[in-house]
Symmetry: C2
Subunit: 456 residues, 2 copies
Amino acid sequence: MLTKDTVGALVSSLPDDVVITDVDRIEKYRQDRAFDPSAGVPAAVVRAECTEHVQITLRWATAHGVGVTTRGAGTGLSGGSTARSEGIVLSTERMREIRVDPATRTAIVQPGLLNAEVKAAASAQGLWYPPDPSSFEICSIGGNVATNAGGPCCVKYGVTSDDVLAMQVVLADGTAVRLGGPRLKDTAGLSLTKLMVGSEGTLGVVTEVTLRLMPAQPPPATAVAMFATDAAATSAVLAITSSMRPAMLEYMDSVAINAVEDMLRMGLDRGAAALLVAQTDAEGAAQHRELNEMVAAFERHGATEVVATDDPEEGAAFVVARRSAIPAAERRGKLLLEDVGVPLPRLPELVDGVHRIGAERGVEIALIAHAGDGNTHPLLVVDPTDPASLAAGDAAFGEIMDLAISLDGTITGEHGVGRLKRPWLVDQLGPDVLALTRRIKLAFDPDGILNPGVIL
Amino acid sequence: MLTKDTVGALVSSLPDDVVITDVDRIEKYRQDRAFDPSAGVPAAVVRAECTEHVQITLRWATAHGVGVTTRGAGTGLSGGSTARSEGIVLSTERMREIRVDPATRTAIVQPGLLNAEVKAAASAQGLWYPPDPSSFEICSIGGNVATNAGGPCCVKYGVTSDDVLAMQVVLADGTAVRLGGPRLKDTAGLSLTKLMVGSEGTLGVVTEVTLRLMPAQPPPATAVAMFATDAAATSAVLAITSSMRPAMLEYMDSVAINAVEDMLRMGLDRGAAALLVAQTDAEGAAQHRELNEMVAAFERHGATEVVATDDPEEGAAFVVARRSAIPAAERRGKLLLEDVGVPLPRLPELVDGVHRIGAERGVEIALIAHAGDGNTHPLLVVDPTDPASLAAGDAAFGEIMDLAISLDGTITGEHGVGRLKRPWLVDQLGPDVLALTRRIKLAFDPDGILNPGVIL
């Protein structure tokens, strides 16, 4: 029970200013970027500085049966860090150490470091950390691990899970354990490291991760194409993915193109139905060959305009256009940000279906996608002052998940289930897998103190 | 309880000749290639032909509390498929369907297909399935998934787990569930697919896997070098892995070189302390650059002889030499096959320590390694007719695992824990992680019918 004395016991067990209970200072820890209006006011926020602080917090939470919502930088989009009034928030923002080891090509990182900071520290040693969520400049590596975050480069380089070799985790009862190690191969016991990735704070609190790094890649070459129809664009996507491994293959629909053009005035064709941006980071002559293959695929599938460049700066401008789609769409209203994915051959049906749902519900949807891996982000634009618009947006949001499931897809490719998508999870997984998931959750967290209400 | 009536119920619930109970016909299902002399005689062997046969078998096993040892091709090296007299064996050898889909670059495969058959089916469509255990011509894909198998190419392309996108699994109570899907990104719910990989038949029976395929790679170029000391060879390994991603980087020690030379007479330098084989599968000019980098690293670190070739056939001869190390060592006695791995900077200490243990125990050890990822296979040669030799081999086998653990390493990189390595698992994972593992096992298999005695 969360009495004043209970909270006081937490405050006095940790150093000064680690725990805050002042309502004003707590305010910014109540929500993530899902901006769930039903977010509560937690009784306290623990800003842990080390693993021991996390252990003290979870021991206390177990002793008093208090739910703990763990958060990194608070950039989550599914409400995985929405605070509860009957619980506390545990922030890892102050845990920011990193140690890059070129000999093992690994980095040992605390969860509060931003993705961009991990990339920078690796880069300083001539190395590269691939996963690149669009929010990489503001999202934490702990949040990336919690959601198994992706990004544009994942089409070639995989998701966060592929690069996590080991971690330190504090279990619900406060026990700190180490899983895996700085070893590329290790099949001793169950793959608990991989199980933790994507578990959204429901199985334990990650206090350190060991990440696999790559040698720095050559600067990419970029091909951009405009299409008169979505069908032409998605057929070009399939032609490319079935014959090569692009380093990036991104899609924007007409609404996204126009929103970006409104903001950036870079001369995009406002009349196009779709834009694709593809990159290759192959080396030397192979890069030219891959660039030519991508251009040929665009032309063969009816592109109305193709630009190809091996100037990284020129290419980066188009990547910026794609990355700007979310802020550009945000200028048109409040966004409901979807994250559905499908097996690649179903991508044309998903794109058509999303546009159909938007038209039927009268909701403007800017559709952007990591097209090369079938992961799309329909951005539903609603008017937050208009209850009818909000209701139409909510309805469309759910229908898009139903559509993805009907196409053998997923309700979330890289953002996580959080609280927002929990009602749809059973439709994707089925009751048997959900029941199994519950049993695993109980094996980790018998008292249900870890991020209650998330995923399950 | 396993009465005659109980077994009769199983026989009559499945089609003719699916279940065998004849002791002579059962004989070949009693052991895997760990050849555990304590293997029992199972009451029956079920040679399932489809998922439904597996469901019937597990329902029966749950109803009667009978332990089920699942096996693929029986090439396991850790005793994960050692049969028990108080249980039955479930073989997936007859489940051999495959469907390759070039559009999604995936293959849907039943567990009984051999790794080489998966590679061939992919290759027929211009695609490639990377994982390449040395036993790829005789091991099953189901066994690869059960052990999270690796191989020489894993230094660049990762282990089996990295390529498993989805699976169908029969749970202990006979429920069949689907995990994941043919989607490169999917973070809906816990990562149960990844948890299943490497679980050695203790959490469920995999009846179908969806594998990620790659476009076929260019033919490799090969660099081979001989070294006068192990220290020189391992320093060359570290120089290569810290600056590039070789497609293969293999090591053989003096004993292995001589055993192979005895068998193949290919002109290897019998006086060398170590041999390294490295390959690059980069394209065009990049391949030449990488080959030159590898040669330069060999020379800089004191190689006494270096051969470089971009002729794939010539390169393949050296790969054959490395692959022949196990059969060559087998001519010298019975082998105890180790599978320990360490973080790369500890590789020199592991190599030295293994040789020291061999000398101290008077056990001949041929040491081969997937050096580029720190995974080594000390091959302990013992005389099966000499109890003193067997005892010395057993002692050295354990000491090598103790050594790996002391170097922050793993007791198994790619073969699995099975029964053979179970006593050492707690020393690597620690009691807290082992306790957590037990709770997860219970969540999947409350009655303990799935591969009892393996891992836990």
